[in-house]
Amino acid sequence: MSKPVVATASLAGCFGCHMSILDIDDRILKLIELVEFNKSPIDDIKTFTKQCDIGLIEGGCCNSENVENLKLFRKNCKILISVGECAIMGGLPAMRNGIPVKECLEEAYLKCPTVDDNIIPNDDELPMILDRVYPCHEIVKIDYFLPGCPPRADLIWEALVALLTGKELELPYEVVKFD
């Protein structure tokens, strides 16, 4: 039987959740025995080469590229998991929600004391910034949520093992935290 396939992505995130995946320490060797990685920054595979079983999404959606990427993951992954506060509720990038985009861009590119060319970047190559930052489950269906900033390595590990082995997930109180 072939191994289950895992893909991961960091959308509007800081890669902290990916660092937390690596924080499972030597269990990463066991993980490699259990699963095969496809599209992910961990193995640097840029495009999906096969249908995946589990997709781990870090970060919410702040621009059009995030939305496209998230929809691509939904299409290519049987189970999609929001990993971390940004994926679940927008997180730090969502602190701009409630402030009009125009005001944000002007503050960053025109009024900021350290800019001198005073241009708001606008090029076809650049993804369009969204009106606000969206949690992933407001864009596509998300099957499971792993909260934390970042989610504890033990939470990610236990959730993955439970999914891969079909065993009941028993989480100690200490591993589910929002910070």
């Binding site: 506060e85 409630g98 949690p135 407001e138 909260p147 589910v176």
Partner: protein
Amino acid sequence: MSTINFTIDGKACKAKPGQTIVEAAKDNGIYIPTLCHFEGLKPAGTCRICTVKVGGRNMAACTTPVTEGMVVENKTADLEDYRKAIIEMLFVEGNHMCPTCEKSGNCELQALGYRYMMMAPRFPFLFPRRTLDASLPKIVIERNRCVQCLRCVRGITTADGKRIFGVVNRGGHVEITVDKDLAASMTDEMAQKAMDLCPVGAILKKEVGFAIPIGKRKFDSKPIGSEIEKA
């Protein structure tokens, strides 16, 4: 003094006359989750997390006195889900960014989220635009995190009994406000009391933050209510 006999989820309990359901439950080793309630303050019944069922009706356990023969339903699947829904509503209707909050780990709303295993709220986030007041000498008022429990309004007064905090507007526009002159005269002790009274991170004492390391904070290893529950 006479004793009142009543039951919670079928368990025989005893209460003193005048006790509310929340207080009596605590004395009997039963935890009913609360948020706006604070021992020593007049109950307000604003958050409704303590909702229990009495005689088929939903009641706020923090404002309802126990009566003889009362049959209280507390830990039923329906009530627990109502409570979880209220917690989720509070999370989506404010801007609760736990990772950036000084109160994280000591926050009662967050602790209730943990207790009820809120992995993600079922409701869409509203991302309201709220204001922050950092102009006072001793405290910061961070309205993004306010849950309008009115604990500060009820519990923080000057030595001569004047209220420092107040509430303005109605419905979704309700906002905690402060008497700037009275707040300017707050001592360090009063500022600490106000911060400790606030269940969330809406009132913060200035010039101190993230003082307790992760792992040693109030709700890092023990769920809220576990100190009340008897095995």
